[in-house]
Symmetry: C2
Subunit: 352 residues, 2 copies
């Protein structure tokens, strides 16, 4: 049984415009100002759980060069290119069938590429423990985060805490998945002990997910089943380009997780954030004494508080008397928006 | 008697950073978004008062190319280059001696290059009237603006309104020049009828100003008198580079206007602003219904009021929920500052 890591790196990060642009979305940017992009941090944090020759990255065709450049240790033919965006179910199906042809006994952890995890030691412990569990069972394990606030931007996983698994007493059966709640619901959720944030981190054997897709998403399974002759051959990309667009646009949560049997949750706590909002980026970034998070070499703040400033390296930014704003500039774009209204940013980008 | 126009274009416009930079100060920028720079507008507004071959521009050596490019109709040898900044007295002395050698009977109007005048018809009428007056008298005429608010950023000219000049009943003797006042003083000034803003527009015959400089600024006069053999020769620039720096750093107001006899004021009203502040730029610019003044091709404002936004053409700027701010970006600099605190901008630039 060998461990494989699948990194999903096809997002477009529109909420972080203009820091994140369609040409270079947030996973390919050093958004924390630490010298490594989120994609690089994602691979880094797995340490020796999975050697580079068993790492796979699924991304859009147009980002393949960026991935290869940022992760030179990953084999070129492990960078799988989606010709179009079809959400997570076709993404995971493609890479699973691809891995299965090469290594039918693979044990896989799937990770988004644009999240942040602060406690790597605890993260590795949890991942190893979950991999050991799936190695011995036909189960799908989701990593559920202990919620710390009534977050409306995340989905929630409800676990059945009445009885832990015999093989791993940290792991529980899933009772239900709950979509992103409104604030009232979220406040109710976090008062309970059995609700966890859905981190998008999944662990399963390749045979388990392939079987689950065959049952719960046969229209997707049939496509990737039919392409088996081409995986690992020079024709693979051409065939994918032809047939991948036929997949329905659907998430793995909706198509499999919420419907399959043998779904488990591993409640854990390793300082995870999906960095899905400027608010969470602010929270994860180093801040000055006035609660400003600055990414950029030449940012000068005067009487400025509670701001997030993101500027390209060469640019000199001088700000006087601003409170609670996002200021982000890149290439030929500049955004100034109150932190409390960041949900509008997506409209600004899409409306352009 | 021939009319000559002298445009002073050596300012560095530091209050308008980063729209105005030391490499391209505000007089060389289309700050109003009308398709012409302030320098070009300055020449434009004189119409046929003075043909291009009698226009002179005094500027810093480093801006000579920009001037030549923006005013191609002005003869190349009429663009006088100061090797260093010495305020307005040496500037006017240099160009006056230079003109005098070529045209001892010249009648001159001196104009700053970074102001704005809205009513060109009235402006031309006043200038013609003043030039007719100085053509016949050994006088220096200042154009004084009827004040509309207690402005503390301007100097004031106090006229003796008891008796208009016999030759021109719109022109009065000057009683006194007053430096930029504090608010209390400015409020007192504008309640009176005899106080006018000093526009920096002067009219005089070349012989009049040369004689005045000989009497009131002999240390400057001696330098430019000694260079007479070189004006209009290939050695001119070399000699200016050698001796111009010897001039004291002093304004024409302080060295001559406040001390000479035969100083007159022509109270007038042609929509003048020195555009010395972002506030005055805001006032002079076209504004949207929410009182925003935008210069830039791709500026999108949402729930934004009372702002001045200045962006380079290519840049897309999206602003949400900002009130009363200056946002200016250019090259590798971005400034965000409340309009009420624009006096701090100079510090930001100089402190860099």
């Amino acid at each position: 049984m060998s461990n494989h890591l699948v990194i999903m790196a096809g997002g477009i990060g529109s909420r972080f415009w203009p820091m994140s642009t369609p040409e270079r979305p947030k996973q390919f940017i050093d958004v924390l100002g630490c010298g490594r992009t989120l994609l690089q941090l994602t691979l880094d944090r797995f340490g020796d759980i999975c050697p580079p020759e068993r790492v796979w990255v699924v991304t859009s065709a147009k980002y393949a060069d960026i991935v290869a450049q940022q992760l030179p240790q990953v084999p070129a033919d492990h960078i799988l290119q989606e010709p179009c965006r079809r959400n997570t179910a076709p993404c995971i199906a493609y890479v699973s069938w691809r891995i299965k042809k090469q290594e039918p006994k693979a044990n896989i952890i799937v990770a988004p590429s644009d999240h942040v995890i602060m406690n790597t030691t605890e993260f590795q412990r949890v991942v190893r423990s979950a991999l050991a569990f799936t190695a011995e069972t036909d189960s799908i394990v989701t990593l559920g985060m202990h919620p710390t606030r009534p977050e409306t931007g995340y989905g929630y996983i409800q676990g059945d805490l009445s009885e832990p698994c015999a093989r791993n007493r940290e792991i529980f059966r899933v009772d239900a998945f709950h979509e992103k709640p409104d604030l009232t619901k979220a406040e109710r959720y976090i008062k309970r002990k059995d609700f966890f944030w859905n981190s998008g981190l999944f662990v399963f054997r390749v045979s388990t997910i392939v079987n689950a897709l065959r049952i719960y998403a046969p229209e997707i399974a049939n496509i990737f089943e039919s392409l088996i002759p081409y995986y690992g051959t020079p024709e693979e990309q051409e065939q994918i380009n032809l047939h991948f667009p036929e997949c329905p646009n659907i998430s793995i949560d909706y198509s499999v997780m919420e419907r399959a049997e043998e779904i488990y949750v591993f409640p854990s706590d390793f300082g995870w954030s999906d960095l899905g909002t400027w608010g969470s980026l602010h929270e994860q970034s180093q801040r000055d004494q006035y609660d400003n998070a600055c990414i950029g070499e030449h940012i000068e703040l005067h009487e400025t508080r509670n701001c997030i400033i993101h500027a390209t390296e060469e640019r000199r930014v001088v700000i006087q008397g601003l409170d609670g704003f996002i200021v982000a500039e890149k290439d030929d774009a500049l955004l100034i928006c109150p932190r409390s209204q960041e949900q509008l940013i997506r409209q600004f980008v899409e409306g352009k």
